[in-house]
Each structure stands twice: as C-alpha cells, then as structure tokens.
C-alpha cells in the first residue's frame, strides 16, 4: 500500500505536513509519500491511499484522524474513515475535467524524477530531438496552442520568429511571474509537476535554437522555487539538461531568477529588464523580444501553462490537441476558480465549454445563499462578466467580446454582497508604469465616486452591468 499526501502550498497551509508527520508516527504498513496539488483545494488536506491501483481518497483530513487511517491500512477496517472518504459529488469535480497541462499534478511525487519518467516523462523531448526544429514548430502550429499567460498569441509564431532571428546566442524564458490576482495554476504546475515544465522548455529551446533557458519565478512562491531547483538538479544528474542532451548535439542550461515583487514584470519586456537586474520598466516595442530581448539577444518568452502543454502535444500529435476546443481556441485551459464559489480550485477543461460549466457544473455554484453576480476574469487587464452572460463560450474571441479577456485563467466569483467598484480597486495592482494604467486609475476613481453617491441616495444594489474599468492588455 501507498499513502500519498497532497503537499502543494494549499495543502501545506491547510495542515498537510502535520497530517504527514502524524501518519509517520503511527506504525503503518505502507509507504508514505507526497504529491503536489490535485486542484481540489477546497478539500485539502487530501490523503490518497493506493492499494495496488485502487484509490481511496480521504479529504479534509486532520492530524487527529491519523490513528483511524492507520487502522484502515493495517486491518482494512473502514468504519472510522468512512466520513473522510471523498463523496461522489466531489469526485465529479475531477472526473468532469480534461487534464493535459495538469495531467500529473496531484498524482506523482514532484520531488522524484523517476515518477515523472514513469509517466512517459522526457519521451517527448527524445522524440523532438529526432526531428528538425522546423518539424517541431510545425506540430505546435498544427496544435493551435496559444499563449496561456493571457495574450493568446500563437506559440508557433513566436517560436518561429525567434528561430528565424539572426544570432548565435538565443534565450528561452519562462514567465512564472504569476501576478494576476486569483490565478495560481502556474504555481501548481511548478510545485506539482516541475519536470513537465522543464521538458516543455527544453523542446521550445531546441525549436528556437536556444542554449540558455531562464525561469523567472515570483519570490512569493518559495515552495515552487525549491521544487524547481530540485527538479533541475535531478535532470542535470540524468544528463537531461546540460551539454549534448541524450547524446545529440543539442545543449541547454537552465537558470532560475526569483522576481522581487512587481506586478508589471508579468509583461515580457518588463520581465526582461528585471532579469537584467534593472527596474521592471516595460520597453517600447518594436523591437520585439524575438529580435532583441534578454541582453538584446533574440529571446522567446512563454508562460508556464503554455510550456506545460508542449510535451503532451509532441507525444500525442498536434491534431489531437486541435481536436479539442473551438475554431479559434484549441486545446484545454486551466482556470483557478475562487471567491464566493463552493468548490474552489483548479479546473482544466477543453475550450468551447461555457462559463456555466466551470462555475456551476464543476465549481458547484455559490457557497452562500446570495446569488451569483459576476465573475472577474483576466486580473487587472480583464473585466467582470455579469450573470446574464454566464453562457458565454470559453474562447479567446467570445470572452473578448464581453469586454473581459481569457487572461491567465483567474476566475474570482462575486455574489450580490459585493460592489464592483470597491473590488476593482482591490485587484488593481499595476503601479502606473504604463500610461493606460494611469488613465485607468483615474477612470476607476471617478466610477467609485459616482457609485458611492448612487448607493447612498436610493439604497439599492449597484447595477450589474459590466464596466470595463481596465483596458485590455496590448
């Protein structure tokens, strides 16, 4: 038997480490190990007990449950843990999802490379190294993969531009400066499946011809940094990164840079400035990073979730990825569903589903009896989508048409208790480095004043009309 405890940041904050220690103290006849975040954050701490392939999932476990769990493992007596076993309804939170980027999250141990390799890890890299870089880019083109950080720009196009850019020295950069409030899928991927990110990055580096890869991670994610460092070390020992990878003439070295807390550094040119040790002030474009990026060399920057799809695409083919989704948006997207929602966590579903599917069918609707009012999407660059647009299809264009954006995938749900203008100020974290943000702040303050007056005069709830306070990201 195997006992696996979910130890992403959420799990640890909910007490998973205490549960693990308590279980180790009990004399149990099973191997105790850890995993990352399965995405059912509202049920943490989660303990999975594997008897061969049969899984018993226990949820909301506390340290005082350790003796009962030990009894079940040692004697098979389930009576004392029945109340901890995940319900069918909660299991649907996972069974209704389609997981590609998150496929290993909450299943494998992120600190042991062998567990990733067992799940076909690094086979996509091997396969890619047997192709020409152009062929790799062609597969990504067929897949329709687009930038998951928010902009939704075709990944192949950026790779191709960086590939065709002249220069011996090129850089591949991963943007893990996940700053949009309400979004935490990148943290989950790094904490739970760091090798998937590394493999995606290596394939990207091969495609564009880069020998250097850099991951820019938020300093607020200490666990992600620790697990990524550990993963890089293990990959290095196995010869998966470094010189002459898998005996080919492809070489690539990795570097981790910790961000220092600046929302604007999620913007790619600001991120590059920060990597170079400067204030994170965005550069004027053009030239684009593909021509002149890190140290003025051709550079390509993609988001964590984008890279997390790459290995799967190489192994399963671009067509398989493109078979999911809509005309203009292919594959799956991960959403972090939070706020006043019943089941808060990570949801990965094919594009083309509706907001209702995510919020009500999988998320379970509101957690209080106050009705759903709006969902904030896309962080400060996005907007609030009101209840009457709940059947909007998840697609870059369709969401853009509401005035919000797909963004990095944060969905913060609001109920009728909340007022938009106040919330808007709370999620505005831009610091005015860009003219449009400064203008946005003035608009916001004007809105706030007007709304405050209105609520005072008639005492009614503010209207639910979506108002786009923040302009769209360029």
């Amino acid at each position: 038997m195997r006992v696996v405890i979910g130890q992403g940041s959420c799990g640890i904050a909910a007490g998973a480490e205490k549960v693990r220690k308590a279980l180790i103290k009990e004399n149990i006849d099973a191997r105790v190990s850890i995993t990352g975040c399965i995405g059912m954050c509202y049920l943490e701490p989660i303990v999975d007990i594997y008897d061969e392939d049969k899984l018993t999932r226990l949820v909301k476990v506390s340290e005082s449950d350790a003796p009962a769990i030990a009894e079940y493992i040692n004697t098979g007596d389930r009576s004392k843990i029945e109340n901890l076993v995940v319900t069918d309804e909660d299991s649907e939170f996972l069974s209704k999802q389609t997981r590609i980027a998150l496929r290993n999250c909450g299943i494998i141990n992120p600190e042991i490379i062998e567990e990733y390799i067992e799940k076909d890890g690094y086979t996509a890299l091997k396969k890619a190294l047997g192709m020409t870089p152009e062929e790799v880019i062609e597969i990504i083109k067929t897949s329709g993969l687009a930038g998951r950080g928010g902009a939704g720009f075709p990944t192949w196009f950026k790779w191709n531009a960086a590939r065709n850019s002249e220069g011996e020295e090129k850089y591949l950069i991963c943007n893990a400066d996940e700053g949009d409030p309400g979004a935490f899928m990148d943290r989950a991927v790094i904490e739970s499946d760091p090798h998937n990110l590394i493999e995606g990055m290596l394939i990207g580096a091969y495609a564009i011809g880069a020998k250097h890869a850099v991951v820019y991670v938020r300093a607020e994610y200490p666990l992600a940094i620790k697990r990524l460092k550990n993963a890089l070390e293990q990959a290095r020992e196995k010869g998966i990164i470094g010189n002459n990878i898998f005996g080919t003439d492809f070489s690539c070295n990795f570097m981790i840079k910790a961000g220092a807390g600046a929302f604007v550094c999620g913007e790619e040119t600001a991120l590059i400035e920060s990597l170079e040790g400067h204030r994170g002030m965005p550069r004027l474009k053009p030239p684009f990073p593909a021509q002149s990026g890190f140290w003025r060399k051709p550079s390509n920057i993609n988001n964590v979730e984008t890279f997390a799809n790459v290995a799967w695409i190489i192994n399963n083919g671009g067509e398989a990825f493109a078979a999911m989704g809509t005309e203009g948006s292919k594959g799956t997207k991960v959403f972090a569903v939070t706020g006043k929602v019943k089941r808060s966590g990570l949801v990965e579903i094919p594009m083309g589903k509706t907001l209702r599917d995510v919020i009500f069918d999988i998320g379970g609707g509101m957690k209080t009896d106050k009705p759903f009012k709006a969902v904030q999407m896309g962080g400060p660059s996005g907007g609030c989508i009101p209840a009457d647009l709940i059947d909007t299809v998840i697609d870059y264009k369709a969401l853009g048409a509401t005035g919000a954006i797909m963004g990095s995938g944060g969905m913060v749900l609001q109920n009728w208790h909340q007022t938009h203008a106040r919330d808007a100020r709370a999620h505005h974290q831009g610091r005015g480095q860009r003219g449009r943000y400064r203008a946005a702040r003035r608009t916001l303050l004007r809105h706030q004043g007007r709304r405050a007056l209105r609520s005072r005069s008639d005492g009614s709830e503010p209207c639910t009309h979506h108002h786009q306070i923040f302009p769209r990201r360029v």
Binding site: S9, A262, S274, G280, T338, D423, A426
Partner: protein, 158 residues
C-alpha cells in the same frame, strides 16, 4: 543600530555575484536574507564592489515591493490583498491584526516581534483570505483564527 552592521557577512554573496552582470536583484535579495532589510552601509558596500551607483541600487530597491529599508520584526506578516482574498473579507483580517498588534500597515510592534505588510496576491486564492508569516502560509482566516495564530506565534517567540 546601523553601526552594528557586520559587512563581512556580505563577502560571500559579493564574491559570487559582484562580477556577474544582471545580478543586482539577486544580490539585494541575499542581502535582505542576511540582515532582514537593506541597510545603508550594505548598499554602499554593494556599490563599491559592483561599480553600480548607489542611486541606481536605490532605484531598483525601491521599485520592487520585496525590498525594505528598515528592520522588520521577528515575524513578518504578509497579508494578501488579492481579489479572491478581498472578496472573502480580507479587510476584516487586516482590522483584526491592527487591533491585536496596535500597528498599521508597514509598521513593526514595539517589542520587535511583528511587522505587518499588505501585499499583492500570494497565489493561495482557494484558501482565501490568506496571510504568510515569514515562509509559512495560513489560509481560510477568520478574525478568531487570526488572533489564535498571533497568540501562538507570540508564545513561540518567548
């Protein structure tokens, strides 16, 4: 207090990074790990060793929210002000901490135990409202739970 700064603690960091271009932020992060903040003397030493003007170091240091120029307490409370936490009433938690510790955002308690800082989204939104104390995350906070945590931390410090 500034007089007691032991600058030799910086030597290791500077030996490793001073000549590596683009390392200023990394150097400042290590410096803050050592002293808990960025002392003036340390900034001057970094400037001497890297050749970067103190004005530029200050420019970078003040740009990023991670860096501090005053000492902080034993426990640095970072209270998340992200959207999800806000929607789940982080304001109540802020008020509780202020009432319990009698400090405002950015201040340190007189006994030097606690410093309070309101920060942008910590990425633990499913457990909102959330705070980090040093490197530990505490989620699903309520005023009572917050009081209990503060009490436990205070007792642990004795």
């Amino acid at each position: 207090m500034d007089n007691c700064i032991d600058l030799s603690l910086l030597d290791g960091v500077l030996d490793e990074y001073a000549s590596v271009k683009g390392s200023l932020i990394t150097i400042l992060q290590h410096t803050q790990d050592i002293y808990g903040y960025l002392p003036k003397e340390a900034i001057e030493r970094i400037s001497e060793r890297t050749g970067i003007a103190t004005s530029e170091i200050m420019g970078v240091g003040t740009f990023y929210t991670q860096f501090r120029f005053e000492p902080v307490g034993k426990y640095l409370i970072m209270l998340c002000q992200g959207t999800a936490c806000h929607v789940n009433s982080s304001e109540l938690i802020l008020q509780t901490i202020k009432d319990e510790l009698h400090i405002e955002d950015g201040q340190t308690t007189e006994d030097g135990l606690f410093s309070l800082k309101c920060v942008a989204c910590l990425g633990c939104c499913s457990l909102s409202p959330v705070m980090m104390v040093n490197e530990d995350t505490y989620g699903s906070l309520t005023p009572d739970k917050t009081k209990k945590i503060l009490k436990e931390l205070r007792e642990a410090a004795v």
